[in-house]
């Protein structure tokens, strides 16, 4: 039965305590819950593989852990350099540090602060021991105990465990030793620096000369001249103004009348007249045949023909002229925005010409300023170490360099050895 299924059937001490007083039951549950909470991300013995998980979790969370200076993992061979988790922070302790010349108190405090994030993850007693053990480390003693003559000599006696760990885990070992040596370096770092600055006399003279030129140039600057609009711009502007102020009217329409309209109208009227005459002749022929020529009947028929012809002529002429007017008006309306666009194009061209003139005027005015800019730029191109000198003492953590170099070398050597 899996764990999850099992808990539904769990027969626990709590269940068996139902016959006990309520306060005892509550107390029992509270104690059990507390034990569960304490067990989170911790690993009991026998959990070899999962130990890495718990150790990792402790490292990540920086959870509080009871520091134990013994276990498995990084060992410094007894009285050498090591780490011990003292209280809530990881620090270095070196009882004989004063004589060892390591400034142990400062180092311990520095590391305790710097490595507070790691907190007791590494030194978390059994959990961390198991965790590091899962990484393949040997026995651990994080404490710096005994009289350590020096970091290097202590490490020299550190034994094979730290060496093996360092080869197998160069990044972890590098981080640890980097922190240690960094702290050592920080404790010995100088608290002040010396800096000397001077300016080359020739450079200084050029600066002063340039300053004089700047003053002269500034004094000689005249008011900026504004270019006047050209004839192209002015003409287009005037026409555009006039066009905008003139309402669309008869004159605009008249420009688009069909010049052949009269011919068209007259042609149509001629056709009607010819038709009327042909009808009239037909009427007379019919009247003659009916012996009614000259009578009232012939007069009535003739009158009707003439009246129809006149009406047709009037209608046709009106339609033709109306259509001509409408067409001319539409053409006029369409032409106006085209006229405006053309004038605006002319305005743009005129503006460009004016801008060119403005640029010419500005160039003439700014000639002195440009010359000054060139000399100022040249002064900015001062050669290195000519105009200024500076000295600053440097500090190098030789121990840190040596340790990291040694570890890296050992690791590379182990790889080459395997190859």
């Amino acid at each position: 039965m899996g764990f999850f299924s099992g808990i539904t059937n769990a027969v626990s001490n709590v269940v068996s305590a139902v016959t006990k007083p309520v306060e005892q039951v509550v107390s029992a549950v509270s104690n059990v819950a507390s034990k569960v909470d304490d067990a989170v991300n911790k690993v009991p013995g026998g959990w070899g593989t999962v130990g890495a998980i718990a150790g990792g979790a402790a490292l990540l969370s920086g959870g509080a852990g009871a520091a134990a200076s013994s276990g498995t993992g990084l060992t410094a061979g007894g009285g050498g350099l090591g780490l011990t988790a003292g209280g809530s922070g990881l620090g270095l302790t070196a009882p004989g540090a004063a004589s060892a010349g390591l400034g142990s108190t400062a180092i311990g405090a520095g590391l305790g602060t710097t490595l507070a994030g790691l907190n007791t993850g590494i030194g978390a007693g059994t959990a961390a021991g198991t965790a590091l053990g899962s990484l393949g480390m040997g026995a651990v003693d994080y404490s710096l105990t005994g009289a350590a003559p020096s970091v290097l000599s202590t490490l020299g006696n550190a034994g094979s465990a730290i060496w093996d760990f360092a080869k197998a885990n160069p990044s972890i070992a590098g981080s640890l030793l980097g922190a240690v040596t960094g702290a050592i370096g920080a404790s010995n770092a100088p608290t002040s620096q010396t800096s000397t600055t001077s300016i080359d006399p020739q450079i200084k003279a050029e600066y002063l000369a340039n300053l004089e030129r700047a003053k002269t140039t500034a004094a000689g600057l005249t008011a900026r001249e504004i270019a006047q609009p050209g004839a192209m711009y002015t003409g287009a502007e005037q026409k555009l103004y006039n066009l905008g102020m003139t309402p669309f009217g008869v004159a605009d329409i008249a420009k688009f009348y069909n010049p052949f309209e009269n011919q068209v109208v007259q042609g149509a009227l001629g056709d009607i007249e010819r038709t009327r005459q042909m009808q009239e002749q037909a009427n007379m022929a019919q009247a003659t045949a009916a012996k009614a020529f000259g009578g009232s009947r012939q007069g009535v028929v003739s009158g009707m023909t003439n009246e129809a012809a006149l009406r047709q002529a009037a209608t046709t002429g009106g339609q033709l002229r109306s259509a001509g007017f409408t067409q001319a008006a539409n053409l006029g309306l369409a032409a106006r925005p085209l006229d405006i666009a053309g004038l605006q194009t002319s305005l743009g061209l005129g503006t460009t010409r004016t801008a060119l003139e403005q640029a010419r005027l500005d160039a003439l005015r700014n000639l002195g300023t440009e010359r000054l800019g060139i000399t100022s730029g040249a002064l900015g191109l001062q050669p290195a170490n000519v105009g200024q000198t500076s000295t600053q003492p440097l500090y190098t953590s030789q121990a840190g360099s040596l340790l990291s170099g040694g570890l890296t070398g050992a690791y590379i050597g182990s790889l080459l050895g395997k190859a």
Binding site: F4, A10, V50
Partner: protein, 120 residues
Amino acid sequence: MKASEIIGQYSQAQGISPQNAITATNNAVSSGNSILLQENDTVFVVTKIKPGVADVAMFTADSPQVLQQSFMTLLNKLRQSGIRIIYGDLENKDLVSLLQQSGMQLSQSDLPDYAWRTTI
């Protein structure tokens, strides 16, 4: 939240006695066969079956968004520890669902005490 609170709350939501769940968890951890892993408000009870193989039960009070992240973190920790095959129960529906959403194929358990197994 504390692990006991998460286990109690989740168990109650699943219709399981919180006291039973907490006590059973404590017994399992005390016996040395199980460990608790917590990320955010999600707890994995990991019970060792054999090297590289474990029974995993999940209790959570995380929101769905946080749960996804907690689940992946805990799953990665299992992988980093060398655990490759996990077993579980069908009653642990949220765990089953998360495993399937993560693209893992659950198959019938070849061990009598469990409902499913999967390779992580």
